[in-house]
């Protein structure tokens, strides 16, 4: 019997037991759907992190010189203690870097992690839990801030320690009815009286988190409130992406000189780009990627056992049919092929339905949340081969049993 006949028979058999086939396949559908959906969502998030989050935190064509790396995810205690022994980044370091990279578009200092939150108060209005940054003027270039009203921080503001503040769009919107009259108003940030100098244009939200809920102070003013912090960061922005790598090398050189390191000493600072953040994120998702297949394999194996069970049941149910087929000349391999084709068709159908379900779920996530979801070809490929593989693996036993039936006994069976 040609394969084609077997497949035709298989489809007819499955079509005549639609509900039973569906329930048989539920395990496979759920497992494969889960695989496709999770992979799609994580891939979507990866792309999202790459395109939006990383750029927004570090800045476009920019890198950071930090005491500790951005990706602090998986380090042991020893490494942690090592990091704790590093000296903080200071404004003197920034001067070394500035001299080493004269072609930088902007080099800024900014207060680092953890960013404090404080109330911002104007008259009887208060906006609570506003993120407070301390920065030097070039930081606004690094982050591509544009002003909605008023002016940006200047070098002079920083040098003279002027008590001024740049408010993020969301904060200003909640405090003032009219942005133009807001400029020059005196507000309290964490209890300290400062004058509103500018309001930034909205940057929007990333992962549901607003980027516009901040108050930006000149670094010395920030340090007067919160003290000097160990986590100050130097940001360097280049005009073009291709300049970043060279600039990072020169920055490393400059930092080693600034910290008086000898040729054999390890760096006691870290130079990170958005790549650092992305690789940290990808480290995280790699963990998910190792767990998900395990879960999926368990699900698929259980689904395969269900298929095997139903196929065994089907062999028993159709004993008489098998007997009839054998009596008119079906050989063992004909019967085996028929039942194997049925199991494989069934399982592959499960794979296809799972892909549709997973794709649907991913699309739903994409519509209902800010995260995009991308169904990747490799997950579809894995899903399909899982389905087919399970069909073959768990179809063999029932198919062999069917093939080995004695035709006389089989034809005597109840129908």
């Amino acid at each position: 019997m040609p394969i084609f006949e077997g497949l035709k028979l298989a489809f007819r058999e499955i079509a005549s037991h639609k509900l039973r086939s569906f329930f048989t396949l539920l395990g496979i559908i759920v497992s494969v759907g889960f695989l496709v959906a999770v992979v799609a969502i994580i891939q979507g998030m990866n792309a999202y992190v790459r395109e939006n989050v990383a750029g927004a935190i570090v800045g476009k064509n920019a890198f950071q010189i930090r005491r500790t790396p951005i990706s602090v995810g998986f380090i042991d205690d020893e490494e942690w203690r090592e990091l704790q022994r590093r000296p903080p980044i200071e404004s003197a370091d920034a001067q070394f870097v500035t001299r080493a990279i004269p072609d930088a578009q902007a080099i800024a200092l900014q207060s680092g992690w953890p960013t404090p939150q404080a109330d911002v108060r104007w008259g009887n209005r208060t906006v609570a839990d506003v993120l407070v940054f301390g920065v030097t003027a070039p930081f606004q270039v690094v982050q591509d801030y544009e002003m909605e009203a008023g002016e940006a921080l200047s070098e002079v503001d920083v040098r003279e320690r002027r008590p001024v503040v740049i408010l993020g769009f969301d904060v200003a919107e909640k405090l003032f009815d009219n942005f133009n009259t807001a400029i020059g108003q005196r507000v309290r940030v964490a209890g300290t009286m400062v004058t509103v100098k500018g309001i930034t244009k909205a940057k929007g939200t990333v992962l549901g988190q607003s980027w516009d809920g901040f108050a930006m102070l000149p670094l010395p003013v920030f340090e007067a409130i919160y003290g000097r912090r160990l986590t100050t960061v130097i940001s360097v922005k280049m005009t073009e992406a291709f300049m970043v790598a060279g600039a990072m090398e020169r920055a490393e050189e400059a930092m080693r000189i600034a910290h008086g390191l000898r040729p054999n000493d390890e760096n006691d600072f870290t130079i990170d780009t958005a790549e650092g953040l992305i690789s940290f994120w990808e480290q995280l998702t790699r963990v998910i990627f190792t767990v998900v297949p395990a879960v999926v394999v368990i699900g698929v194996v259980v689904g395969g056992i269900v298929i095997m069970n139903i196929m065994l049941m089907s062999v028993t149910e159709r004993t008489r049919e098998i007997g009839i087929r054998k009596s008119v000349g079906a050989q063992q391999r004909d019967i085996q092929r028929q039942f194997l084709a049925e199991a494989v068709t069934l399982a592959t159908l499960g794979g296809v339905l799972g892909i549709l379900a997973g794709g649907g779920l991913a699309a739903m996530v994409a519509v209902l949340s800010p995260m995009p979801a991308r169904v990747t070809p490799w997950s579809v490929g894995v899903a399909l081969s899982l389905g087919t593989g399970v069909g073959i693996l768990f179809g063999v036993v029932p198919a062999r049993r069917a093939a080995k039936l004695d035709p006389i006994e089989a034809m005597r069976a109840e129908q």
């Binding site: 019997m1 005549s16 087929r325 054998k326 008119v328 000349g329 050989q331 391999r333 004909d334 006389i408």
Partner: protein
């Protein structure tokens, strides 16, 4: 007319039923020739079903030889027997043994599928066989949409479709009323007239009377073998 189709020598079949050894056939010798119409009779337990399975290549003997159309069938394995059944034998059963969810046409096509005949030729041959038994207007009906007599005609069409050496009928009228039984016997008569060799197992004397030769079994041996004068 003396062309041998079936040659059986000392055919013996024993079954182990628990502790007991059942000797269903105890050395049967017989020859059947092309275009004979033979009835095999005998009371229940005489071994006629066993002989029928043996002749139908569904079972192999414990001892003895069975030559079918020049092939020694008694030593064949499972798959070789399946090929012989496919080419040489057309079965008609008491309980029809049709696939319940398949149309009459598909049921008749079944042996051709396993013979590796391609789709279109298959349908042509199958509908040809159905019209030979007078069912060309029931091609798309399922067994449960047909009467008992019609079902048995579908089974006969299926048995004929591969142009087998022998048509082997096991109590073909056992599930039919007497009028329908006569109809089926008429069909057999016509097929025999067209040159078909027919072997029919039955315990009904009036059905056996249609055959031209009657072999009676008793206790696993041939008891009598009488030819009707033509």
């Amino acid at each position: 007319m003396t062309d041998t189709i079936i040659e059986v020598r000392n055919l013996t079949r024993e079954y182990q039923m628990g502790a007991e050894l059942v000797r269903a056939l105890r050395g049967v010798d017989m020859s059947i020739y092309r275009n004979e119409y033979v009835a095999i009779m005998g009371p229940s337990g005489s071994g006629k079903s066993t002989l029928m399975n043996m002749i139908g290549c569904l079972d192999t003997p414990t001892e003895g030889e069975y030559w079918l159309n020049g092939l020694e069938v008694s030593t064949m394995g499972d798959d070789a027997l399946a090929r012989v059944r496919n080419r040489e034998i057309g079965f008609v059963f008491q309980t029809f043994n049709l696939l319940p969810r398949a149309s009459a046409l598909h049921n008749v096509e079944l042996p051709l599928i396993y013979a590796g005949v391609s789709g279109r030729t298959r349908r042509e041959h199958a509908s040809g066989a159905l019209s030979r038994v007078g069912l060309s207007d029931r091609v798309d009906h399922r067994p449960n949409e047909l009467s008992g007599g019609q079902r048995q005609r579908v089974a006969i069409a299926r048995a004929l479709v591969n142009e087998p050496s022998i048509l082997l009928a096991d109590e073909p009228t056992g599930n039919l009323d007497s009028t329908t039984s006569e109809e089926i016997m008429t069909v057999f008569e016509e097929l025999h007239a067209q040159g078909q060799t027919i072997i029919m197992v039955t315990h009904e004397a009036d059905i056996a009377a249609h055959a031209h030769r009657v072999i009676t079994l008793r206790d696993g041996r041939v008891h009598s073998d009488t030819k009707k004068a033509a």
